[in-house]
């Protein structure tokens, strides 16, 4: 120990009072009284200040379990949604007006168009929706018939009667 250390060691510092000793002694005695079943003044037991190392291990295990469970749930949810999104519509469940059962490729690759509603097995049925052109779906989805005439391009108008000029 050098001179600086000796100097610092000589610095006066406060000491704990006897009151603190009495408080700690009373605290420990009362806690022992609670252990033996006597009525002590400490009714509530606060949680420890520091978690022991075992708590850290348990917390890490809990976090790992929660992470794995969350990942598994997310994967399962994605699987169900993905499977539902690509599931074929069974003919019996089709409620679209005008929908008929269409032909699907046979195992050898050639479509069976002779009697598709009968020839197909129920689990292989796929709906072939035939929507009339007056339906809104066709107006928005299908491109309009175009024609190029003398005065530019425009929608093709089919006229059955001849005009007055003609």
């Amino acid at each position: 120990m050098n001179d600086i250390e000796r100097l610092i060691t000589r610095l006066p510092r406060p000491s704990p009072s006897e009151e603190l000793d009495a408080r700690i002694a009373g605290l420990i005695d009362s806690e022992n009284g609670l252990e033996t079943g006597a009525d002590g003044p400490l009714a509530a037991r606060p949680t420890p200040l520091h978690s022991p190392p075992a708590d850290g291990v348990r917390a890490a295990n809990r976090r790992l379990i929660v992470t794995v469970a969350s990942t598994a749930c997310a994967g399962l949810l994605g699987f169900v949604i993905g499977r539902h999104s690509v599931a074929p519509v069974v003919a019996g469940q089709a409620a679209i007006p005008g929908a008929t059962v269409g032909a699907v490729a046979a195992p050898d690759g050639t479509p069976d168009v002779s009697n598709p509603a009968v020839s197909l097995r129920p689990e292989r049925n796929i709906v072939n929706v035939q929507v009339p052109e007056s339906e809104a779906l066709v107006r928005f989805v299908m491109p309009a018939k175009q024609s190029v005439g003398l005065f530019g391009s425009g929608p093709l108008e089919e006229r059955t009667e001849s005009t007055q000029l003609e």
């Binding site: 600086i4 610095l11 603190l20 022991p52």
Partner: protein, 170 residues
């Protein structure tokens, strides 16, 4: 089997009582180093022991465990008082000036002044080692720092103290 795996079964709180009787001065100084007020330091020690007494069994390293509990209780108390509106931020500094024991010797006054000029971490290491008589290993465990860091901080603090005291003597 105990609730906490890192603990040793002990039927009573005798370990806590014995530890307090042996380490009462270091425990008090650990809290005092944070709070700089004897009354608050005693409150911090008491608060920590309230929680320690509720442990179902003795920790595996009781001394270090209790030291850390007391220091954390002191830090919590300092933060709680710092958050109060009626307690200004420099309340702890005022406590330091009001409640520090009087120093008569001129060299001790200079040493006290030089010690106060150190940064908080270095001053804490010096005081814990020289006044609370904690080993570097215990200080490293208490402050949760590597042992070489604590030792080098102590050496640098002593060098700084030497410089400051030489300046004072000049």
């Amino acid at each position: 089997m105990t609730i906490y795996q890192g603990m040793v079964d002990m039927p009573e709180r005798s370990w806590l009582d014995e530890l307090y009787r042996r380490q009462r001065q270091p425990l008090f100084l650990i809290a005092w180093n944070v709070l700089r007020c004897p009354t608050l330091a005693e409150d911090a020690v008491h608060s920590a022991f309230v929680r320690l007494a509720a442990l179902p069994a003795a920790p595996r390293e009781p001394k270090l465990y209790v030291f850390r509990a007391v220091r954390n209780a002191a830090i919590d108390l300092a933060r709680a008082r710092g958050r109060r509106r009626d307690q200004p931020a420099d309340a702890l500094e005022r406590y330091a000036k009001v409640d520090a024991p009087a120093v008569d010797d001129e060299s001790l006054v200079a040493a006290q002044a030089a010690l106060e000029q150190l940064d908080e971490g270095s001053r804490e290491v010096v005081e814990l080692h020289l006044q609370a008589s904690l080993t570097f290993q215990e200080i490293a465990g208490l402050l949760d720092q590597p042992l070489p860091t604590v030792a080098s901080r102590y050496r640098r603090a002593l060098g700084k103290l030497r410089e400051l005291l030489e300046i004072c003597h000049e």
